[in-house]
Structures are given as C-alpha cells and as structure tokens.
Symmetry: C2
Subunit: 96 residues, 2 copies
C-alpha cells in the first residue's frame, strides 16, 4: 500500500492529529488537577472521536489518491468520484 503523496492530504491529517494531541494533553491536565471523572470522560470521548474521524479521513485520502492515479478520469468523472468519496467518508463516519 502506497504512502500519501499529496501535501494537502498530509497537512489535513497532521492538523487533525496535532489537535488530538493537544486534547490528549488536556485530559492529562484534567486528571492532574483532579477534575470530575465525567468531565474527563467527555474530553476522552472527544479525543477518541477525533482519532476515529482521522482514521476515516486517512482511508478516504488514500482511496482518492489511488483512484485518481489509476483511473485516468476526465473532469466530470473526477467530480463524480470526489462526490462519492465524500459519501464514503460520511458513511464510514457513522461506523462506530
């Protein structure tokens, strides 16, 4: 399986992961400061959701790159493909 070649896709994923890392540090701070368990669990849930959607995004970016690189689509077909990939992302986002 190939690497992600497009800078835009990589940057999108890296930004999501950096945000998740910040949230994760926030959870640690909450535990250190003795916040209530429910609030910690809420923040944990936010990090897990962010990573789930990043995982989906990684899959979609990979499919987009692989399909565009192999199918030699014209402009209209390329637009159709991108619409379908958006739908795929929505469906996978409901997956958990």
């Amino acid at each position: 399986m190939a690497a992600l070649l497009e800078t835009k896709a990589r940057t999108d994923l890296l930004n999501r992961l950096k945000r998740a890392e910040g949230q994760l540090r926030g959870v640690q701070r909450m535990i250190e400061e003795g916040e209530p368990c429910e609030e910690i669990a809420n923040q944990m849930a936010a990090v897990r959701k962010a990573l789930d959607s990043t995982h989906v995004r990684l899959t979609v970016c990979y499919m987009q790159q692989a399909l565009e690189g192999s199918l030699h689509l014209d402009g209209e077909a390329s637009t159709t493909l991108n619409g379908l990939l958006d739908e795929m992302q929505t469906l996978l986002g409901r997956g958990r």
Copy 2:
C-alpha cells in the same frame, strides 16, 4: 460525579495517556516521513485501542473508589469486589 482521589489510579491513567501521546506523535512522524498508509493505519489503531482501554480503566477506577467509599466492606468483601471490577474491566474491554 467525583474526581479520582487515589494517586495510584491517577498515575496509572496518566502513564497510559502519556504512552498514547507518544504513539500519536509517532503517527505524525510517519505521515511526515511518507510511510505507507497501511502502517500509519496500524499505528493509529494502536493509539485508538490504548485510549479505549484507558477509558475503560477510568470507569473501573471510578467505580472502585465510589464502591469502596460507600459500602464499608470487610477484607473478604473487598477482595470479592476487586475481582468483580477486574471482570468488569475485561467485559468492557471487549465492548467495541
């Protein structure tokens, strides 16, 4: 809902979260260095699994604290309770 009072429980959770944070930085490095998508996905899965089990652990620690703090158990009952909480952790760990 209360905060976690026991230092041991907090330290356990913080260690798990620190490890997950390190893994998450590893994922970012893999993307930056252009590693194959499948390997990135594997590492992402490891982080998500670590956070899932930390979430379970948080719940178990909370239950332990709340039950021990309110039920005034003797030594034998306390051992039974801890065995049940281990089982709860195992069951919740299968949950996703």
